[in-house]
Symmetry: C2
Subunit: 254 residues, 2 copies
């Protein structure tokens, strides 16, 4: 039912997630972006021609949903500073509990994706994980999420925390492996571009094959000879990562 109705939203904070939400809400006719808050007004000056902006929490206008998009460690104290009564207040964090928001009507609106400033993203495929402390607000958050994404789930705080932890492995750590790959290429005057189709295919493969079944390589085959030959070519930090992975892969398939 909410899908047909205009939803009035204010965004509090304009960092990475905040600015991406501003972009996607701007392009969604059935979402009214009422106001943008940042404690440093200069940071949101560029939105002034289009939206109401403020650096004062005393001046927050009326909205259906207030989305806190400040850094994780600031959410609790920031939410406490809000004087809003009987309003839905949500945060966007993967790691923080719902109840870190000390208000009557609270929720979480967690887009599970890696956001880069100034890189536009197709939000339709971004999973949005929703949580609220009452059914009516859960429905409202779902409606908001469905306006921008086809991939909406209701999950609780513990599940969200674990999902975020898994995301650290498949995003942060994976990217660091890309960095090591790039280092090895640079050191040996080969172009990192040669690895890009492999990187893409490795990621694409698991949309149809379980990672467990997609595994290949010397550790999977328990080929100690190749493992040792490869170890001998690495620097200390690379060697440590190579050893841990080889051990962990061998244990997985033993």
């Amino acid at each position: 039912m909410y899908l047909r109705f205009m939803i009035k939203v204010s965004i509090l904070g304009s960092g990475n997630i905040g600015s991406h939400l501003i972009d996607v809400f701007t392009n969604t006719p059935s979402i009214e972006l009422v106001q943008i808050y940042n404690r440093t007004i200069e940071k949101i000056k560029s939105y002034e021609s289009r939206y109401a902006i403020t650096d004062s929490i005393e001046n927050l206008r009326d909205a259906d949903i207030y989305i806190i998009a400040v850094s994780d460690d600031a959410i609790n104290s920031f939410s406490k500073s809000l004087k809003l009564k009987n309003k839905l207040i949500v945060h966007t964090s993967g790691t923080k509990e719902l109840t870190i928001l000390e208000h009557e009507r609270i929720g979480v609106f967690y887009p599970l994706q890696t956001f880069t400033k100034n890189v536009t993203l197709d939000f339709l495929t971004v999973p949005i994980c929703i949580e609220a402390n009452n059914d009516k607000d859960e429905k409202l958050l779902k409606a908001l999420a469905h306006k921008i994404s086809n991939n909406v789930s209701v999950i609780n705080s513990l599940q969200r925390k674990k999902l975020h932890l898994a995301a650290v492995f498949v995003n942060n750590f994976v990217n660091h492996l890309y960095h090591i790959g790039n280092d090895i290429c640079t050191e040996n005057q080969v172009s990192f571009d040669l690895l890009k189709p492999l990187i893409k295919e490795t990621a694409a493969k698991i949309s149809s094959v379980l990672p467990y079944n997609a595994q290949t390589g010397p550790a999977k085959r328990n080929n100690e000879k190749t493992i040792n030959t490869q170890l001998a070519q690495l620097n200390n930090s690379q060697k440590e990562i190579y050893s841990i992975f080889s051990k962990s892969i061998q244990q997985t398939y033993q």
Copy 2:
């Protein structure tokens, strides 16, 4: 010049790479697949209706290029068993030197991609790394490669070995991180599907941003508090990987 000419190729071995080469050559009109060899004839019976097959190296027919696609450790002894005179003999390995082939005219035809049996691949984007011990054969291999791919490079044995090593990090180890992510999801009853858009975007991002600049997360921000909270949620094997990565990322950005 070679691009216009038919090239006659035989494939010796029908494992993962061999069977993918058979598929792509089958779909390339200007490549004539002369013969397929496997020491166990049953493994290539399915090709019999279309191609000459044999399990005897005594019966190899005349071709321009003989592609050895046997396991890395068998390449040397297999190549020695070939009685071919004045023929270009190549292997497809990322890790083995050109000179492991003890013949007069030798080369390497290394497609740098992850191959899964029964999963068809768009070969046009697959980097093919070429090496030969004389200019004429380098040209011939380049011509063959250009018939199936738009991404052909000439690189030497040392560079190829390093490239393969980098591939272990960005493919084998990355896939193992996907597996750990899947494990964490399964243990906590959340769908691994929620991570798939993130996995895809993480891989897509480095086509335009260096991995060094794409890095995010608690280790990059040197956020010890979050690191310790996350460590406490992991089992021993996951913990070990998490620690090594956090340390390595912190060192990279210190």
